[in-house]
Symmetry: C2
Subunit: 260 residues, 2 copies
DNA sequence: CAGTGGTCTAGACCACATT
DNA sequence: ATGTGGTCTAGACCACTGT
């Protein structure tokens, strides 16, 4: 059962725990420890390397911080297996999808052969904060409808999203209802006479907050992608801002643009 | 000098180290511990909370994993200050910049009032691997010119990049030279008769490898953005693939696209 | 029950930075 | 020389998972 591992070199200038981490990392990268496999137990590593428990724990800690392994209490430490990656193309909001009565997430997820699900829907009516007001070209304090929700694919959370829509646009539509109807929010915005013309997306990445880690069921040492999208209608009016936080390992975003 | 911190609650179901981490995190988020400030020393925390050294170290370890603090050996542990963010718009490769004789990075960085610099330039000629061959519509093993380099702004590394150009395009140009001349690689590709028409960028994020951490001078617990760009000419031929790894905290990518 | 990882203690010596 | 964090040891008890 035990792998054939090298020992540590007490003359090496790297401390033992780093050497142990490097040895384990190498086993993982080379595939000798495959995704989903269990690492040798702490006691096995202690015996093999001839070090104290804290030393092997520190080595494993390093791999956890890199998101390479995930410990399961009472069972062992396992090589993280990559979840299926969702590839998001920049035409994912094309009207042809909306016309089929599907929201972007629903269409994408079904296309990937997974079961889409939305939960934790919360709708409030709030005064706009400074950043949102700027993006929507409103004045701070103007009323906006705030819709937040969590998206799941095959029961696993992959993304949390919060949309901000000026009340002047949402008024009299089901945007503030739990079920926004076919085509989602964008469908209702177009019903209200705002033909969507342009999106601007701002993408970055960071470590999640503890809340985000919990909501997305992330292990330690796994980053999130933040994407803020602003939707503009044909008159150039900003009609929605959508803030999303995605598990980075689950997404590749694809953008196609002319050289001009 | 010491902050006014709450104590830990032995009846709380969270372990002491998490409570300590939460207290410190709160101090940082609220600004009572500002960016650049030093946390109380380990010995101060040990005394204040009445715990063993490993316990406070574990608390600080948690904050390191979140990228909130950065330890400096012999000095203390400091609240990380955010570096200036570079905002990359999708028109950054517009010909008007190239016509001014500037490569995209040079133009961006100067526009941000920082001193651009490029080092660790390495040019090789290799057979294409499977992934690159697919992206360039070549056959695996076809010769390609591989240019890798590191970009710095005001002396701080911000990005490492590797370009892959089919030898059939690079041949007879300075693309394989250390200095590619005005307008960079894209300038030379256009000189060779390939008018750039379209780019496709694929964006994701992950934790850096140890090598990347060193090259970008990243602290533990800070992710990178990976961006793979493929450039196409007017005939639809893929003329270059560029793989970049960026310090996530230093970039916001901006894309503007029609709703179609 | 035995085996696993999670947390904690109380010490030790080392390396780095500052005075 | 002093104070800081970095690494390590050798134990302890707890909580979770499996047989």
């Amino acid at each position: 059962m035990m792998l054939d591992l090298d020992g540590i070199d007490r003359t090496d200038d790297r401390p033992p725990y780093r050497q142990i981490a490097a040895i384990l990392r190498q086993q993982i990268k080379s595939g000798r420890l495959a995704a989903g496999e269990k690492l040798p137990s702490e006691s096995a590593l202690i015996e093999h390397f001839g070090v104290a428990r804290m030393t092997v724990r520190q080595a494993v800690q390093e791999l956890r911080g890199e998101g390479l392994v995930i410990p399961e209490h009472g069972k062992g430490v396992f090589v993280r297996s990559a979840p299926p990656v969702r590839r998001l193309a920049s035409d994912r909001f094309a009207r042809r999808h909306r016309d089929a009565g599907k929201s972007a997430f629903l269409a994408e997820t079904e296309a990937a052969g997974q079961k889409p699900q939305v939960d934790r829907i919360r709708v409030t009516n709030e005064p706009a904060g400074a950043d949102i007001a700027r993006r929507l070209r409103l004045t701070e304090g103007d009323r906006i409808v705030v819709r937040s929700r969590r998206y799941l694919a095959d029961g696993r959370p992959v993304e949390i999203a919060t949309s901000f829509i000026p009340e002047s646009i949402a008024k009299g539509t089901p945007i503030a209802a739990t079920d926004t109807g076919p085509g989602g929010i964008y469908g209702r915005i177009e019903d209200a006479g705002h033909t969507l013309a342009r999106f601007v997306e701002e993408v970055s990445a960071r470590m999640p907050t503890p809340d985000e880690r919990k909501a997305l069921d992330l292990g330690a040492g796994t980053p999130v992608i933040t994407l803020t999208r602003t939707a503009f209608d044909a008159e150039g009016t900003a009609v929605e801002v959508c803030d999303t936080v995605k598990a980075a390992s689950a997404f590749v975003l694809e953008y196609d643009f002319p050289a001009r």
